[in-house]
Amino acid sequence: MSLIKEFIQFAKTRKKIWLFPIILLALILGGLVILTEGSAIAPFIYTVF
């Protein structure tokens, strides 16, 4: 938690707030991959046709 606070403080001081969305995106994507890896729970679903 302190690491996150420290990072936010750093970003504010150094004016790097624009980095937040990309970090959030990377976290969401990474979480999605980790949570769903190796799962064969889905039926055969097709993206286009």
């Binding site: 707030i17 999605l32 769903t36 190796g38 064969a40 729970i41 039926p43 993206t47 286009v48 046709f49």
Partner: protein, 327 residues
Amino acid sequence: MKVKSLSFHLLAMLLVLALAGALLEIGMRIAFARSMDFDIEMWKYAMLLKQPSSNPRIGHEHKPHSRAFLMGADVQINSIGLRDIERPAAKPQGVKRILMLGDSLTFGWGVEMADTPSRLLAQLFSAHGSDVDVINSGVGNYNTDMEVSYFFQEGVKLDPDLVVLNYYINDAETTPAQQTGFFRQNSYAFAFISGRIGILFRLLGSSPDWREYYQALYDDSNPGWARAKAAIARLAAYCRQRDIPLIVVNYPELHELTPYPFLDVTAKLRAAAFSSEADFLDLLPAVSDLEPKSLWVSPMDAHPNPASNRAFAKLLYDTITLKFATD
């Protein structure tokens, strides 16, 4: 001054996001150029090898002469839109032809052409000295109604001596429409992320898992199953009138084999085949003693691998030879 600063930050965030999206797409195209990811590979299959059909009941079809490397296997489509060898239009003298109708299992998703059920069946005939063409007309994401529509438009031209309707539990789905949208049709990242979000929802219980999804297809309220039964009856009537044997073959769902959770679906399919006076074969006994995951093409894709297809082809061969011997 504060507004100007805020605008600058927002603009920078948007630009960074756009750049990140572009980099993600490029990275995925490199990382997944040859992959075993079900969603990405099925997306490639749709974009590279499929096209909408002019017949709305067929829905979609393969692009003739197309080729791609999908799910670890080289896939080539021949001049008549089949994953099959080139054959003369007219049946050669003295040769029997078996037409395999079906979906991605018949197509041979995730296996080389030599390991598709059709080629393995042909090999068995050849090894026993019989001159039999086994034609693979399987197309991924076909349902029974689409397969039978294909048969009446194209399959009859191949002049089969035996028709095998290969059935998988999702063949009672309604006919899929092509889904459009720029990202859906152009982005690896979209295919991957949307697939993974779908899995996450199923893990969280807010979307049905494979068991619930497949079982629901056989609710009385599902029009897809009614259309599948009607298609079987239509195909059987045509074959009966022309003395062409028809076998409806049930491929087991490979997540769980003992106890098999869809015995009621198998019974419904058997009843539909028998009520249409077609033969019926259940392939579950060919693999029921085996560990399910040992039969899959990848840990996240329960399509049959070469070992499964060999077991299926053997049982199919034994049944067909018995049928031909008695008929």
